[in-house]
């Protein structure tokens, strides 16, 4: 160790002189140009501060040190430990100051944006919270926009996000646990909950899973979602995510647990029930009767998005007797001369739509929208005119796509998109019979899912009558009592 080279014995294992310390740090951090080493002569001591340019702003620290330079003359060389204490207690005006005693700690503090002050002959070094990362302002939550309700969305800064939630719940019971995850990225992850409302068994389970998670990097909350979700191979999400502080706050008040990850505005909420994915924060900001109707509309959209193409395929290729005669006449007329079987026809159109949708995300915002609209219209119309696809099929695909967008949670929309194709295949092979079997399997699967030990189908299976106040309908605040299934 380096201290052996120095004659004077220190109380910690830091190098004894400023020069040796700098040398050791340079060895550890490499000679990156954004790491700034600044030498300071503080009275009898020589000191150095180390910070990363862009992440830390040590201006206030340096000013404080120079302002109180006289103080340092008081510090007796025989009592180096007192020097640090004095600095910490009397000089440094910044809020977050801590003593660090190992090189590893110093390294971590620097990398997380703090400034480290090293003073020769003192026991240990000081880490000063000068974190000042340039960050995005709080903006609209674009992924979950509402007509009425708060506009704020989370940002990429963890601290800012916790503050946004705390502002909504000014309650001493709100707890935040922080940990670093990802061996390479060392990302700060906060677990937030209400001490008096949280389901302790779920919280314990979450802690266990987070501890067991072996992650190299955490760049977005999905890295964590994948580690803590219950069944990896289910198409349905068992972790809810949101960009909205008000949704997070309401989940916390319901006794759920929020997981905030530094570097992403998407916050995870567990345990998640299926009904949650059909709720929008706006349901609670609008009249309850309207909200109830809209919510039922969403369930309808879920079914439409999931079943329309497969149902169309099933009845037109297996169950023609089920179609009313006049509708059948019109459908047959449209299908005259279409060279593909109904399944292929539907598949082509659905894939085309998925392509347009995917391309629409990548295209620059200004042209993205117009391209996707024009693309759909033009391709749809042209395909019908060319006799490749029947007009009814275009309507089927269009209603499916639009219904899909009506779902308030994007990730349940993805599940629907995957299952739609599976159901189309089954419908083309086995007709309605196959579809019914597939739906039974789907229902069984949903009932078997759990989110942190809480049944995923919540309030329906097992059925709770009291919980129906806020599932298909939303009763008004007077009639409603919040439901949370404490398993």
């Amino acid at each position: 160790m380096t201290e052996k080279q120095h004659p004077e014995k220190r109380q910690d294992d830091l190098p004894g002189t400023q020069a040796l310390f700098q040398e050791e740090m340079r060895r550890r951090l490499g000679s990156s140009t954004d790491i700034i080493y600044r030498f300071l002569a503080l009275g009898p001591f020589s000191a150095v501060i180390i910070f990363i340019e862009g992440m830390a702003d040590p201006q206030a620290l340096i000013e404080a040190l120079h302002r109180d330079l006289s103080l340092f003359s008081e510090i007796d060389g025989a009592e180096p430990a007192r020097g640090l204490k004095l600095l910490k207690e009397r000089t440094i005006t910044l809020g977050k100051v801590g003593e660090v005693h190992t090189l590893e700690q110093i390294e971590a503090e620097i990398l997380s944006g703090n400034t480290v002050l090293y003073i020769e002959k003192a026991a240990g070094a000081l880490s000063v919270g000068t974190e000042n990362l340039k960050q995005r302002a709080v903006e609209d939550a674009t992924s979950q926009s509402v007509v009425r309700g708060p506009r704020e969305g989370f940002t990429e800064s963890l601290r800012e996000n916790t503050a946004l939630v705390r502002r909504r719940i000014q309650n001493p019971q709100l707890r935040i646990e922080e940990r670093k995850l990802g061996t390479a990225t060392c990302t700060a992850v906060s677990v937030m909950y209400m001490e008096d409302r949280v389901d302790m068994t779920a919280l314990e389970e979450l802690r266990r899973r987070l501890n067991a998670a072996k992650l190299d990097s955490v760049l977005e909350s999905n890295y964590i979602e994948e580690m803590i979700q219950d069944k990896r191979y289910s198409p349905f999400p068992t972790v809810y995510n949101t960009e909205r502080p008000d949704v997070t706050a309401s989940a916390l008040l319901e006794g759920r647990i929020a997981i905030l990850v530094d570097g992403t505005p998407f916050v995870l909420v567990v345990p998640a029930l299926l009904v949650q994915f059909f709720q929008s924060s706006e349901d609670y900001y609008q009249r309850s009767d309207f909200a109830s109707l809209v919510r039922m509309l969403r369930y309808l959209c879920f079914l439409l998005a999931l079943l329309t193409p497969s149902f169309y395929i099933a009845i037109t290729t297996f169950h023609q007797e089920m179609i009313p005669t006049s509708l059948l006449i019109s459908l047959i007329g449209q299908r005259e001369g279409i060279p593909f079987p109904a399944f292929l026809e539907a598949f082509i159109m659905e894939v085309t739509f998925e392509i347009l949708r995917e391309a629409g995300i990548r295209l620059p915002k200004s042209i993205g929208q117009s391209v996707s609209i024009v693309g759909t219209l033009v391709i749809g119309q042209a395909a019908v005119d060319a006799g490749l696809v029947s007009a009814a099929m275009v309507i089927v695909v269009a209603i499916t796509a639009i219904a899909n967008f009506a779902l308030p949670a994007f990730n349940v929309g993805i599940s629907v998109r995957i299952l739609r194709f599976v159901l189309m295949g089954i419908a083309a092979s086995f007709g309605l019979y196959g579809m019914v079997i597939a739906l039974i399997i789907l229902a069984l699967h949903l009932c078997s899912l759990e989110s942190l030990g809480v049944p995923y189908m919540g309030s329906f299976a097992p059925l709770r009558r009291g919980a129906q106040k806020d599932t298909f309908v939303r009763l008004s605040q007077r009639m409603k009592k919040r439901y949370f299934n404490r398993s």
Partner: protein, 402 residues
């Protein structure tokens, strides 16, 4: 473990793909049969099928080559399914029978008995049981399927909706589905009926578009009263008034129009808006059943060609009484006609007796059809006039006052 489950998934996927989609049929592989006709032929049956021509019937934009919206195919065979299969030698697509809307029997075949055709119709899983059965009055079924109709592109649809409309609003015609026919056929105390159709007008160009290319179509299909069956054999036809009576007794009248003589001379027209009948049975001293048809009807006055003062309730009462009298007399007379002319209980009186006096029925069961001819049937109606329209006094009276 992992490879095992992967293998299972692969097997399941190949199951869906390799099983070959049993019974899968694309819409454009089907020839939708809209109407079937059954006639006698020297070696069995002559079956005709009116098939939709989708390029013409459904498609508004598609290439029109001037063909008609339907095509009628004809084939013969010892059995109906055989004839239908033989028809495939002339049709380009598989015949699909689930959407048959009407089935027409030729009169000659109906007189011989339709039982064998009914057997096929009920045995085939593809056919529904809710299409209408018709008898082509004085003609062959194929003639009825060989008419181009106005309004509806598909003549079978035209026939179908005209049955519904005339039955609902005129009540002088029948509306019998396969299901109803079988039920009546298999019950002991009743006999089935069917509704009849006939051609009207110049039939020389009935099968071509020229038929509808004039303001007054040259030839039309007309609903032609009720065909009386004894078991599965056609035994005769009922005219308009007896047909209505049958529908009243069978509770099949929805609305119908009628007229009576006004008390002060002239005519009063009324519309029946609701009619319900019940069959009451009493046993007389000779231990014979006597039937009373109780009819409760609501009527609206539709026109009055007289000077009757309608502002007096007594006039309304008088009109009601006259309608009741008309019902009682006319219906009883019509029932008498059916009893005398045909020994076939199409009213289901025997069935009613069976239900109300099961013990007495036993002695009648064997020879009910003969007994039916001699039982006493009377009609007791109760009519209420609910509305007299937008004006109170008849026009003749109004003119008088000025």
């Amino acid at each position: 473990m992992y490879t095992k489950s992967l293998g299972c998934i692969l097997l399941l996927i190949s199951l869906t793909v390799l099983s070959g989609c049993w019974s899968r049929r694309e819409l454009n592989d089907l020839a939708i049969v809209m109407a079937l006709g059954v006639d006698l032929d020297k070696d069995g049956y002559a079956v005709s099928a009116q098939v939709m021509n989708p390029g013409q019937a459904g498609n508004l934009t598609g290439g029109s080559n001037g063909s008609l919206p339907v095509v009628t195919y004809k084939a013969t065979g010892r059995t109906i399914p055989e004839a239908l299969q033989r028809m495939l030698s002339t049709t380009p697509r598989d015949l699909y029978l689930a959407h048959v809307r009407v089935l027409v029997f030729g009169e000659a075949y109906a007189r011989q008995g339709v039982g064998d055709a009914i057997d096929f119709l009920t045995r085939s899983h593809e056919l529904r049981t809710d299409f209408f059965l018709l008898v082509a009055k004085h003609t062959e079924a194929i003639k009825i399927l060989d008419v181009i109709t106005p309004f509806e592109q598909i003549p079978a649809n035209s026939l179908y909706s005209s049955i519904l409309v005339s039955h609902k609003n005129w009540a002088g015609t029948g509306k019998v589905t396969l299901q109803q026919f079988i039920v009546e056929l298999e019950r002991g105390g009743s006999n089935p009926i069917m509704s009849g159709v006939q051609l009207q007008g110049d039939t020389s160009e009935q099968g071509s578009l020229k038929n509808v290319q004039s303001v007054i179509p040259k030839s039309l299909i007309k609903q032609a009263g009720i065909a009386v069956f004894k078991k599965d054999k056609l035994i005769g036809w009922l005219g308009e008034a007896p047909s209505k009576t049958v529908n009243y007794v069978l509770n099949e009248v929805d609305t119908t129009e009628g007229s009576i003589d006004s008390p002060d001379g002239g005519v009063a027209g009324f519309i029946i808006t609701d009619a319900k009948s019940r069959i009451r049975i009493s046993i007389n001293e000779k231990n014979e059943p006597e039937f009373v048809i109780q009819l409760k009807a609501e009527a609206n006055l539709t026109t009055l060609h007289s000077r009757l003062d309608l502002s007096r309730t007594a006039s309304i009462k008088e009109l009601e009484q006259r309608i009741e009298e008309k019902f009682d007399n006319l219906m009883a007379a019509n029932i008498r006609i059916v009893q005398e002319k045909f020994d076939s209980d199409i009213f289901g009186l025997g069935e009613e007796l069976h239900r109300q006096y099961p013990k007495l029925w036993r002695s009648y069961r064997k020879h009910w059809d003969e007994s039916f001819q001699s039982v006493k049937v009377s009609v007791k109606s109760d009519v209420a006039i609910r509305r007299i329209g937008s004006v109170v006094q008849p026009q003749q009276k109004e003119m008088e006052q000025k």
